[in-house]
């Protein structure tokens, strides 16, 4: 029996499966395109009526007033303030945890602590919102009253930011730990041989060697905080104003979008389009952060 090995057999089922898998994968591009199309096209309708200049320069965000003003600045200050508080909590704590787990803890302790901390990242954000509003805020109010004699408002970005910070600890700790563990053992041993202690080795050898991965982890955490919605909606208040102190209440970009959506949005109105304009700002912000984080993490992976 002769068989022609030069001829490729046609296998329709094989080809159909490959096609199916390909379509599933290409869907990812379609989703990105869909998001960009929807957000940009609706935002474009918004920018036809509101000049982009006003959007960037005006210091008031009052779309629901009779003489509406559309300046993104108040929303951005709200977002930056809550993110700043979150980072102030998460960066020191997350990095301490990462250094401890990577350089000091026994493998057994690491295997227990890391997954337990990762549970923190799995808690629904609406539960965090409740926790911020009804646990952290009263705690802070008592603290501010007793130490500074200041009445902290019931809604404030401080409480929302702190809880957001606690939420992103696992992201920062876990990714930074990965980066530090990727540093070759020889570098540590060289340092020990020179007489350095573990702490000195951690901060003068391992940390600098892993720094791009660590910065990447922090930026990824930052991107989470910028995009977080429920905690700030529930605990941060929904008043769009230029925020100069974390003790104020304020609306973030995400909180504004959610707040408008909570009312009945009349489709096609300027108000409806304004949430897409705000969404576009948010999308650009997080995409830039993700891009930087991704580039940094790639660099650290290629280093060794």
């Amino acid at each position: 029996m002769e068989r022609d090995f030069t001829k490729k057999r046609l296998r329709p089922f094989e080809q159909a499966m490959e096609g199916l898998l390909f379509i599933a994968a290409v869907l990812a591009i379609a989703i990105v395109a869909g998001i960009l199309y929807v957000v940009i096209s609706e935002a474009a309708k918004f920018f036809i009526q509101v000049s982009p200049l006003e959007f960037v320069t005006s210091t008031q965000w009052t779309p629901l007033f009779d003489s509406p003003s559309y300046g993104i600045a108040p929303l951005l200050t709200g977002t930056f303030m809550s993110t700043l508080v979150a980072l102030a909590v998460a960066v020191p704590l997350g990095l301490l945890v990462a250094v401890y787990l990577s350089e000091f803890a026994s493998p057994r302790a690491r295997e227990t602590i890391k997954p337990t901390l990762e549970l923190l990242a799995g808690v629904p954000t609406v539960v965090y919102g409740y926790f911020a509003l009804l646990f952290i805020t009263p705690l802070l109010q008592g603290f501010f009253r007793n130490t500074f004699g200041i009445e902290l408002p019931g809604f404030n970005l401080l409480s929302a930011g702190i809880v957001m910070g606690l939420m992103i600890i696992p992201y920062i700790a876990s990714l930074s730990e990965d980066a530090m563990r990727a540093v070759p053992r020889a570098m540590r041993e060289g340092s020990f041989a020179m007489g350095a202690t573990r702490l000195e080795t951690s901060f003068r050898v391992v940390f600098p060697a892993a720094v791009s991965g660590i910065v990447g982890a922090v930026i990824l955490g930052m991107s989470r905080a910028v995009g977080e919605t429920m905690i700030v909606v529930i605990a941060g208040g929904q008043l769009p104003q230029i925020v100069t102190s974390p003790t104020q209440q304020g609306a973030t970009v995400t909180a504004f979008i959610a707040q408008v959506a909570l009312g009945d949005i009349p489709f096609g109105t300027l108000e409806y389009q304004s949430i897409f304009a705000a969404g576009l700002a948010l999308l650009l912000l997080t995409l830039v952060f993700n891009f930087i984080a991704f580039a940094l993490q790639r660099r650290f992976r290629e280093a060794y």
Binding site: A24, A28, V38, V123
Partner: protein, 381 residues
């Protein structure tokens, strides 16, 4: 013989020598452990405080009737029946879309994808999708599914939206699991004449399955707790009915327009309603009026007509074509609804709902972590 001691003594190294400041440096080294443990404890303490807060606020509300009561404008009557049933239906829809698409996409990228521009575009897309804030998916849902595709503010819209949200999680988990299957497995299969898909289906997929399941569980757990995108598609409504019912269950119809708390939008408005089955009407002030089939009544907005679902009603309601288009509420939305109300009793209900939500998500995440741990121990290539 003492010859060795003769002549100049060899330089003796003082092995007790310690460089200056060593004690202090060693102390700092140990002191750091304290700070490291403290930071870890703050993280773990948050989890404890969270559970403690919810338990102390809401545990006393957890009862049979809390699980099987509808939301109500009376805080003590309010329950999560429509919320957990809604969550299950939305998650079923989410899983239906996210699992096959995510696994197929992951398999394609690891097993089939050639190194070309399309592949790297797909990879960039997946990486970026993972970083898109969840509320942006809500904008996509409103702009595309509700507006353009006219799917309505339905379980279908919610399910598709959440499946897109967790797609990157499933894809990344699939890729990692598939990548960890050694090349020899594929080569062995191909060598004995299996086609590429046969090798993938019978020799790669089974070994990658636990890893994939871990990713799916984490994705599903995220979808269960997700609130923001569902608020955008209008999930915050007063839903005092179930999309699916059993025969003999109460069937609820709310009269007129009510807000998300079940209060009438226009307090004095009435509507003429024809009663189609024997039952009761619960007035907005919670008084009950028995009604019989065929009656025609003027009812105030906010009144609820309750009758008993017939076998036919119930059977029809279980068809996906029926419930996919239904309005819905889910656990996190219900909790958010109660959190935004001033009455202490509603906040207690919110805490109770949060406790249920937390228990489900921690259980799912915990089992995913356990599975991952088992996996690492069980398979040593």
């Amino acid at each position: 013989m003492t010859a060795i001691t003769e002549g100049a003594a060899p330089p003796v190294r003082d092995i007790t020598f310690r460089p200056p400041g060593l004690a202090a440096r060693k102390f700092k080294d140990r002191a750091f452990i304290f700070w490291g443990v403290l930071a870890t404890l703050i993280g773990l303490g948050t989890l404890v405080a969270l559970v403690y807060d919810l338990v102390s606020d809401g545990a006393h509300r957890l009862s049979w009737s809390f699980f099987f009561s509808f939301p109500s404008s009376d805080p003590l009557e309010a329950g999560i029946y429509s919320a957990w049933v809604g969550s299950i239906l939305v998650i079923l829809t989410t899983a239906f879309f996210a699992i096959p698409i995510g696994v197929f996409a992951g398999l394609y990228l690891e097993e089939y994808a050639p190194k070309n521009a399309t592949t790297s575009a797909i990879e960039i897309a997946v990486n970026n999708l993972a970083g898109v804030p969840s509320i942006i998916y809500g904008l996509l849902a409103v702009g595309l599914f509700v507006q353009v595709l006219a799917l309505g503010q339905s379980i279908l819209t919610a399910g598709i939206t959440l499946s897109l949200l967790i797609l990157p999680v499933v894809i990344v988990a699939t890729r990692e699991a598939v990548r960890s299957v050694p090349l020899e497995m594929r080569q062995g299969a191909l060598a004995v004449g299996a086609t590429k898909w046969q090798a993938t289906q019978h020799h790669v997929l089974p070994y990658a399955l636990p890893g994939i399941v871990t990713g799916v569980i984490i994705g599903i757990s995220r979808a269960i707790g997700e609130t923001a995108p569902l608020i955008l598609i209008g999930g915050l409504t007063f839903v005092a009915f179930l999309p699916v019912t059993l025969p003999g269950d109460a069937k609820f119809t709310v009269v007129g327009a009510v807000d998300e708390y079940g209060a009438p939008v226009t307090p004095d408005a009435t509507e003429t309603v024809r009663i189609t089955a024997d039952g009761v009407v619960v007035m907005p002030d919670f008084s009950e009026v028995p009604v019989t089939s065929g009656q025609t009544l003027d009812l105030p907005h906010g009144a609820t007509v309750q009758s008993v679902a017939s076998f036919g009603d119930a059977a029809q309601s279980w068809l996906p074509t029926h419930w996919l288009g239904s309005e819905f509420t889910v656990m996190p939305i219900q909790m958010f609804n109660w959190t935004s109300r001033p009455q202490a009793e509603f906040l207690e209900a919110a805490a109770a709902a949060g406790l249920v939500l937390l228990a489900i998500t921690l259980l799912l995440n915990g089992s995913a972590i356990w599975l991952r741990y088992r996996l690492r121990k069980a398979i040593k290539w």
